[in-house]
Amino acid sequence: MRLPVETDPLLREARDLRWQLPRNFNDRLTEAIYAESARIAERTVTRQGTSRRLAFQRRVDRVLTNPWTGFPVMGLLFAIVLWLTIAGANVPSAMIADVLLDKIYPVLRAAALGTLPAWLAGLLVDGMYLATAWVISVMLPPMMIFFPAFTLLEDLGYLPRVAFNLDRLFQKVGAHGKQALTMAMGYGCNAAGVIAARVIDSPRERLIAIVTNNFALCNGRWPTQILIATIFLGAMAPASLTGVVAAGAVFAVALLGFGLSLLCSWVLSRTLLRGEASTFSLELPPYRPPNVLRTLYTSLIDRTLFVLWRAVVFALPAGAVIWLVSNLHAGDHTLAYWAVSGMNPFAVLIGLNGIILLAYIIAIPANEIVVPSVLMLTVLLTGQAGGEHAAGVMFETGDEGVRSLLTGAGWTALTGVCLMIFSLCHNPCSTTLYTIYKETRSFKWTVVSALMPTVIGVVLCALIALVWRTLA
């Protein structure tokens, strides 16, 4: 069927007139408006000589974008932020853990056991409370340091320079230089990294940044990496080198993550996202002295509390699930036993074990609880003594204790390596997935973000296990 010819004479005339305008009419119009802006500005603005401030900013820019000085400064700043985060978080983390786990927990437990049925007390206190307390004590301190530090760099105007320096690298894989920042933010928290992708105004590059953000190790996964690297890889080296080897291994995993994110960006931009609209624009704003107190305040409200709130919301039910699977019985055994023995054959194939897989499923809400879940399930299922705590309860113990517990359960260096790889490459936590859905409004891209790293992780682990076992 054919539409009637345009009937409105006014619109018809407007359309006919369009053919009489110059071909580059749109350009001419922008030019004309700019010319009038310039004329008005010329009459009303006076500049006094050359600005020392501007000259200073130019000198700073020269240093920060020079190949010989720009990259060292960038690396140094990033290292300082990470070091501040990891080193600075230990003390408050221990303090919060001391209060929440050692002081409040026994009181709560005693009170609950005295007033509630035992199963409900276990579910609420041993399950939900402990999981949430763990997440808060592990997650809150690093975020309280990382996000404000990062926000200060942002307000200063430094971050666009990082995008400028690294753009070439990202352009080669079909991405935007600003992805460097979403990744850096991802080292704090992937959900925050996904939100940060808003600054990328090109649709294709923004999706790439969102989908690949998970390859930036978030602070929920750093502790896992450090612990496992220390007790399995560090221990293989002479005692004096333990720390160096462990740190090197963690750094290698982080580097692998960076490489994988570039690789996935490259693949995505040539397959699923091929042809998607793509533009580049990057404004380098003047450096501005940040308002430190205000920055601390807003970054605390906007990022830290926001991310923490979501994590708590997801940790509560996860805690309940952990308690339930390890305490509910089906037949002669707990649900956890059945799940672990069901998954074990597959898990062993990829260098892990059933306990780790179950822990990862339970820990979908928050990566922080992987290690405690693994320990708890190991104690429960291998019947080893786990200190003074009851079975089915998350706990923490020293490196040596963990090492003997895990090797006692049949862990080898292979298990350690595969766990580190799998910790890097698996589905993002549910907080991040939810954020991805909210940002993309697309079920498809949420699923891609979940499946892509998981598949890569399984394949990598299987390959490593195969090679390792063949050589051994």
Binding site: D8, P9, L10, L11, E13, A14, R15, L17, R18, Q20, L21, P22, F25, N26, R28, L29, T30, A32, I33, Y34, A35, E36, S37, A38, I40, A41, E42, R43, T44, V45, T46, R47, Q48, G49, T50, S51, R53, L54, T151, E154, D155, L156, G157, L159, P160, R198, V199, D201, E283, P285, P286, R288, P290, N291, Y297, T298, S299, I301, D302, R303
Partner: protein, 280 residues
Amino acid sequence: MSSACPPSACDTCAVPRGPAQRLGLDVGKADYVVALAGNPNTGKSTVFNRLTGLRQHTGNWPGKTIARAEGGFAYGGKRFKIVDLPGTYSLRSASPDETVAREFILFGKPDVTVVVVDANCLERNLNLALQILQITDRAVLCLNLMDEARANGVEIDARGLSRELGIPVVPCTARSGEGLPQLLAEMHAVASGAFKPSPYRLKLAVPGLREALGRVVARLRARFPGLANAEWIALRLLEGDSAVGEMVSTGTLGSLSADHASQEAAATGTTGAASKEIRA
């Protein structure tokens, strides 16, 4: 356009000076709707936070405000709803940001549009300001980041600029709060109709354009007498804007051309909040 310098609002109306009462997100029914427009990274969000008492994150990083933020404050006995539009360089393209901003200023019928510009690069920022003045008469220019401009040795003749543009111009430093009381007073004066700006209209010096515009404008005037922004509407028609074309053929343009102040009808528009009832 009157050649006289627009008088300061405080000379012509009896609005009390003083701080605004911040209402945060609790807007409720508003007497006036304020649109906050401007280029990215001009401190628009800082102005917004200052006025509403909200704490939206404001990074030194263009494009922080993606979703449209709303907030409220009370001033001079009236409740203002303020809408922070996405930062854009222009209002002419079909990109989502620019469409949202353009259609809100047109269909959302704000009682006053505050154009936040960076005093350090006025020329670039006027590009957007001049486009906004094509669409609406009711505008106030907020000359932000004056502290930086002073440090950079930039001096701006605000009164001269006000004469050129035909709207009130207020030098501000939103971060420290400098100039905000005057901004509030001017916003109030324009929103209440106590001061009626007569903004500068672009000359649009493009070969063939004036003649084509003239013909379309004549037809528009014949159909919708009293249309304030006939030239801009004609330009959009020549550029092939189908949303504007539809308004012309269905006649809804007529209701937009009626005088703001006398109009009691609720605003209707394509953007979310604009379709809500905004007047008591």
